[in-house]
């Protein structure tokens, strides 16, 4: 005879174990990085340029570089992504073209980031002659996060109930005014969430900036968008593999700063989403 209680217990334990298996590596990574990196964190580390062949000093230019790149990516990707999402959810009719566009967006989000890097190199650095620059790197990162922004914005727009649109139109409000005054305001939290998740991804990727902007060692701040810049993920890669005898503390300190930056962005996204869920009542 089968014992249903025993089966249930086994199933429960398996499920619990699987969940634990997900949490453990994440927790371990965070703990190790905090423990090994925290001793490196001080004001000088955050505000000074790298010194002695990056073996001492700080990582200020890399932090600033990453912030520039992320800001540039968003300036480029948010308007385009949002407009595309509005078109797709509010205007486009269900047809072959629409389906091809949707398929393209899904596939775009599956393209490996190094391919975006090569693409950025070919298009922005070489063809448009921007050179390796903040501009080229931002555009490359922007293209990489476009699919996330389009997909989440579109979901946010489509989650606004049709009845709102209908009432608004029935009051003699035009379609565009309806989008502008009713649909967008109610979709903004979802759009923000998607944007910030995209930002987190842009901040952490190495491959797309490798050929398009990242400087190996540039102990000063960039002066214009046509300058190269250091960036946290690439700097981490350099001091971990390309420069011998870098103190472990400095490597983990850099990793900790990068991790904190990305986690912070995700945290903001989660808070916005949570606030929105609580407020939303339809």
């Amino acid at each position: 005879m089968r014992n249903p209680y025993r089966t249930q217990k086994i199933a429960f334990s398996l499920l619990f174990l699987a969940t634990l298996l997900i949490v453990v590596p994440v927790g371990l990574i965070v703990i190790v990085i905090i423990f090994k990196g925290f001793p490196a964190i001080n004001w000088q580390f955050l505000s000074d340029i790298p010194r002695q062949g990056m073996r001492s000093g700080g990582i200020f230019p890399a932090i600033i570089g990453t912030l520039y790149l992320v800001a540039g990516a968003i300036i480029f990707a948010l308007p385009i992504g949002l407009l595309a999402a509005i078109y797709l959810s509010e205007y486009s009719k269900e047809n072959v073209l629409n389906r091809i566009i949707r398929l393209a967006i899904i596939n775009l989000s599956g393209v490996p980031s190094v391919v975006y890097g090569l693409f950025g190199l070919a298009l922005f650095v070489v063809f448009f002659k921007f050179g390796a620059s903040i501009l080229a790197g931002s555009l490359t990162l922007g293209i990489m996060i476009l699919p996330v922004i389009i997909t989440t914005s579109r979901e946010a727009l489509e989650s606004v109930p049709d009845s709102f649109r209908e009432v608004s139109l029935s009051l003699g409000v035009s379609k565009w005014q309806t989008i502008r005054h009713i649909v967008l305001p109610n979709a903004i939290p979802g759009i923000l969430t998607g944007t910030i998740l995209g930002l987190g991804r842009a901040a952490g990727e190495t491959a797309p900036i490798l050929f398009t902007v990242a400087a190996f060692y540039l102990p000063r701040l960039p002066k214009s968008i046509f300058d190269q810049a250091m960036a946290l993920p690439y700097h981490l890669y350099v001091i971990s593999t390309q420069v011998p005898n870098v103190d472990e503390k400095i490597r983990y300190g850099t990793a900790l700063v990068l991790l904190a930056l990305v986690l912070f962005m995700n945290l903001v996204a989660i808070i916005i989403r949570y606030q929105f869920r609580r407020r939303k009542k339809w």
Binding site: K93, S163, S168, S170, L171, G172, V173, I182, K281
Partner: protein
Amino acid sequence: MKKIETKNLKLWYGKFQALKSVNSAFTANRITAIIGPSGCGKSTLLRVFNRMNDLIEGIRTEGEVVIDNENILDSKTDLVVLRKKVGMVFQRPNPFPLSIYENIVFGEKIHVDHVSKESLDEIVERSLKDVLLWDELKDRLKEPALRLSLEQKQRLCIARLIAVKPDVLLMDEPCSTLDPQSTSRVEELMRELKNKYTIIIVTHNMQQAARVSDDTGFMLLGELIEFGQTHNIFTAPKDKRTEDYITGRYG
């Protein structure tokens, strides 16, 4: 005075014909009820009058709908102007997730540039008084409209509508989510409103049609079977099918 007239109005959803040669006339300052079994085309007819059916793909109309001497089915019709004139109250009360105040001034703020705070305040007061909500809500104008009771929400939706100064109020089963007391209060309101507007109400509730309407149209399978004064329709229907329906023998 004839406010709305349909002449040989036909409508297709793709291949399916939902309205078959509807001829009718709706008079200003009267309440006209449209009754009939589910799926007979009542909502479809109502949504022709403010062209809300345009949102549906594959829809096609023939014939004429004349409102104030203009055929509104004409492709040159300005939908913004039409919909300001012919407003709609929906089945489910559907205020926007905004404050009570913002709900009412929503249309005005969009339609009129640089409208002053005073005139907005005035619109809110007048509209709420018209739907008999002013005393209840005058101290709660900043509260979210979603917190109101169902009846209050539906009244608010009517206030939001009359704030854009329509001539015609289309109501598609406006009381179907309300309890009997709220229903009778909303009916009271409709009688009040008919002095200023042309009201067309779709209802499943025969008593309601008999109570509030001056004229009644009975529809069946996309056809307008009988149309006339409510009193005559309910006491001396000319068509056997009308009689069957109002005596509950239909279907």
